[in-house]
Symmetry: C2
Subunit: 411 residues, 2 copies
């Protein structure tokens, strides 16, 4: 097994010599092959679907697993878009000359070997492989065993293109071990692997974070808040709160708790209540909220819960300080918003709240690599270090210093 | 014990409101107090020195531990220099507007709570505290128990200034538990601590890396190489090799292994041998080296060893590819140099070697935050993520996105 990881490490050296154009060309060929071999992929997917039927997996899970020609074409298209991204390696991030004439350049380079742990969606196989390849990283992919046949079919096609270009297939490696022990080994291979990105449920992420010796960039939960301040434009406030909750409740950047300034509870809560009514959102409120509108009671536990559903907790707080306190206690550091027209209040919130994204007068739903303009999204990091918030392909690079001299020695 | 960490976390919120000028002023007052209270510090240090005598600690360790008026004044001066650094928080790292008019700003912010684990030098207490405070981070300091009294005296003075300015003393906290279990608890407090920086021997760093659930930025060993290519300017080559080894052999950026191109071994090895002679460097060589000059044999183990001493292994390699291969196998990713006048060879080396710092025609001894122009040095990171190579105070920050809207919602 160690041999598998050692070969992946070795393969990473071979990627350093590739020109940007070669990488794009290889990715376009991969996309082409995925598209033309859609039948092979769908056939393999049928085996996974049969297993899913037998194992009585949930219909949501089966939907994530399922592939047809259209979905395979979307996968190919995603690879083409990654091929077209701006080259992430070799960017000069900084550069200067020091007194003795040494020129220092800080240049982006690949991270090396990246392990990606994911669950049922087979399209992550081609997405993650393409993002890693575009950034000259070796990808070790550990998909869910329910998608085994689909993932193997996709990876084989990609590896076939690699070999046609004289590259080792280990550049895009599928972890052959689908057991829990497989994950355990993967996340402790710090000799060979530079970064682990787990994408999946809370249990997986917690397990990986607590046990990995390889550095981890997490994509953890989003318990996002919107705070409506006394100086808010009420019309914007209602529109933003509604959008943050109902536009797509099942995602990490959706609002889970609405915070309302005590000073305006009597004016704003009823319009909010009426706005949510047509969307049948299950509203829960603190006792002060329930004095104004007729909603279910929100308990302590509600404020700790990422519903990922059409449910909203409402809490009346004591101005912007009360909002900041609440978010410090319950927020997950993902996305937080304030609605206010008051400059000083806005600054207090934007500085005082520690989250990857802090919004003034906008919906938290904008936390997204695509919307930020990063192109294909690697994910949304809830780490504080290396990468925070929406991750683009540049976050799959690190840097080195190149120092140019002509005989300088240290005195 | 958990209470101690929880209070440190809470204190980090109080630092967000501080203006840059206030921070500098507080740091200058700390420096002033260290200087005027030098007697208190030296008195406390005497207790540590007595213990060191009794415990029969090595003279090198006792020298690192020892404080006198002059050394205390140097500590105060270091704090003054940190006070004068450019403000690391609030730098706008990037900013752009997206189609719907949202303005996105990427801004540097403090990391939060930083745990620093170090050994005998008491000056690290004031250095690390000042660097963390300047970057608005809470510092949890875990020094060696042999420096207990010195560290406590220094921290008390710093805390006294904090309290005079209405700040909680937990902003600069000394871990009260000097046992191994103290470290173990510290590195697993991911709920309260954002980053651990271990500074010390290999055993400590290995233990921390393998067991921490808090992210770690390591300052690990430097097994640095210099490769002399067939197209080198021989005069530069000898000067650079000599400097990289003998100017200060006991540090991490000193050269441990010299790689010599097979094509020039007969011309370059003797001048090298003669250059090292007056410095009494213990030279060890591979069998090809020993055909040309009379040096001790270098074994496999030598090439794996960070001597930190006036000892040098020499290996003849097959051109730049041979050098890259050797460095991939034995290098620690710290600092690597090539001496050549050939552009293509230089590019091959600078691209093909994965290290924090890669040098062309210069001594590896320049890997140093001060020399790079970063001001007070946090350390030299051997991590690939977050910070790599010489770390300045900016590496004690992370970032958030501030997003400014006027009612934008997602469609």
């Amino acid at each position: 097994m160690e041999e598998f990881f050692r070969r992946a490490r070795e393969a990473s050296g071979e990627l350093l010599g590739l020109k940007s154009g070669e990488k794009s060309q290889i990715l376009r060929e991969m996309a082409q092959l995925i598209q033309s071999e859609w039948g092979t992929i769908v056939e393999a997917n049928r085996k996974d679907m049969e297993y899913a039927e037998e194992a009585n997996l949930s219909s949501a899970l089966k939907d994530r697993l399922y592939l047809d020609r259209q979905r395979v074409e979307a996968m190919a298209q995603a690879v083409r878009e990654i091929a077209a991204l701006k080259e992430p390696v070799g960017r000069v991030l900084d550069g200067w000359e020091i007194e003795n004439g040494l020129r220092i350049e800080k240049v982006s380079i690949p991270i090396g070997v990246i392990g990606i742990i994911y669950e049922s969606r087979p399209n992550v196989t081609s997405d993650a492989a393409a993002l890693c390849f575009k950034s000259s990283n070796v990808a070790i992919l550990k998909g869910g065993k329910e998608a085994k046949h689909s993932n193997e079919a996709i990876a084989s096609l990609l590896q076939w293109v690699l070999e046609r270009h004289g590259l080792p297939r280990e550049v895009i490696a599928l972890l052959p071990d689908y057991s829990r022990e497989g994950v355990e080994r993967l996340i402790k291979m710090d000799r060979y692997i530079d970064l682990i990105i787990p994408r999946g449920g809370e249990a997986l992420i917690k397990y990986v974070s607590q046990n990995a010796t390889v550095p981890v960039v997490k994509h953890d939960k989003g318990l996002c808040h919107t705070y409506i301040d006394r100086d808010a434009d009420f019309e914007k406030a209602v529109k933003i709160a509604l959008n943050a909750k109902v536009q797509r409740p099942g995602v990490c950047n959706a609002m889970e708790t609405l915070l309302v300034d005590y000073a305006i509870k009597d004016e704003i809560l009823l319009p909010l209540y009426n706005a949510f009514k047509p969307y049948e959102t299950l509203l829960k409120g603190c006792s002060l909220t329930r004095e104004v509108v007729d909603v279910a009671p929100a308990e302590e536990e509600d404020f700790q819960t990422e519903y990922l559903d059409n449910i909203l907790s409402i809490k009346v707080v004591d101005g912007v300080e009360g909002a900041i306190d609440h978010i410090r206690r319950y927020g997950s550091g993902h996305s937080e918003a304030i609605v206010t027209e008051n400059y000083t209040t806005a600054e207090k919130f934007l500085n005082g709240v520690d989250a990857a994204c802090v919004y003034l007068n906008a919906s938290t739903r904008f936390t997204d690599g695509g919307i930020f303009g990063f192109g294909a999204e690697v994910g949304i990091s809830t780490n504080k270090l290396h990468a925070r918030g929406p991750m683009g392909i540049n976050d799959l690079t690190t840097y080195k210093y190149r120092i140019y001299g002509n005989g300088q020695i240290r005195q």
